[in-house]
Symmetry: C3
Subunit: 129 residues, 3 copies
């Protein structure tokens, strides 16, 4: 169920992008323990001038590979979130060569009643999920 | 006040899109009971490869009409949200021929102080709204 | 740390956009009291038909300069948010000639564990921030 909104700098081909999305999905499924088809990914590609991603003084160098991942999800344990951050970076590096220094994540939380996956129903409330 | 962010696959003309936005607005005004001019809609159109919307195993078939609607709103009763999901699908089908199986919604909640509709003021706090 | 998502109508050049982003950043740093490099801005530019921004009956006239700013942030005092709305409009007018009537803001709140600024770590939890 998490909804994943990815903001990237433009320039990747379809195949490269698919690998990136697969890597994000792998990390998510394995740490959040959701079904394989719990996949909801939206990608925004921007000219470099339309994404300013600095580092709050953490001394993190960004490149044109920089990714901002905004996750909307039901509540999850803190440990699971931390595990996700780590695993996400591991997958992105291994599958796509993207450095951990280029991966930023921000999560927002909602609840069962805030999701309808189709058919006009709130599947977490109806018992379908 | 809800802010509506719509993600679609590219390919609709202006008129078709207007009809879609009107349908979303109609469903929202009628179920959330907000003023007619409480309309804040932003549309993102994507190449098909930039939106992966599966179904968490619910066996919901998606087509190129798939819509993801992300709603940011002050708190609303659960029943109102469920009514909105249903009504939204009804309007989109009747006005645009979009099937209920192509309509996904995710809501996020904030509060009075989180809105400024213009003029640098928080109108839910100032008493203007 | 706030993540700033800006939705604008297309048509600005790089320099004009940079000035706009600088103005938003100035307002944010000065009212939220965050480090200068706490800058995370993403811009979406849309055809005019893809942004319908009305006024909830507040009688606020919008132009093609209209800006919707969606802010994701850790909790902040109400007064600070109100100060931000005001200051934002002041900066945008003084630096870019954008009228306060064209500036809409919506905030969403999350918590320490919801941020990873890079390197797979949740820097608000690790003590790095």
């Amino acid at each position: 169920m998490p909804l994943m909104r990815l903001d990237l700098i433009e320039g990747r081909g379809d195949e490269e992008l698919k690998r990136l999305l697969d890597a994000v999905h792998r990390a998510m499924v394995d740490t959040f323990k959701v079904p394989e088809r719990d996949r909801y990914q939206i990608v925004h590609e921007h000219p470099a001038s339309r994404m300013i991603i600095e580092d709050t003084g953490l001394d993190i160098a960004r490149t044109k590979d920089v990714i901002v991942l905004q996750v909307t999800t039901r509540p999850r344990p803190q440990a699971q979130k931390q595990e996700f951050y780590e695993r996400l970076c591991k997958e992105l590096y291994e599958q796509c060569g993207i450095k951990a220094s280029d991966v930023m994540v921000s999560m927002v939380q909602n609840t069962d009643e805030d999701w309808s996956f189709g058919n006009g129903r709130a599947q977490f409330l109806t018992g379908e999920l």
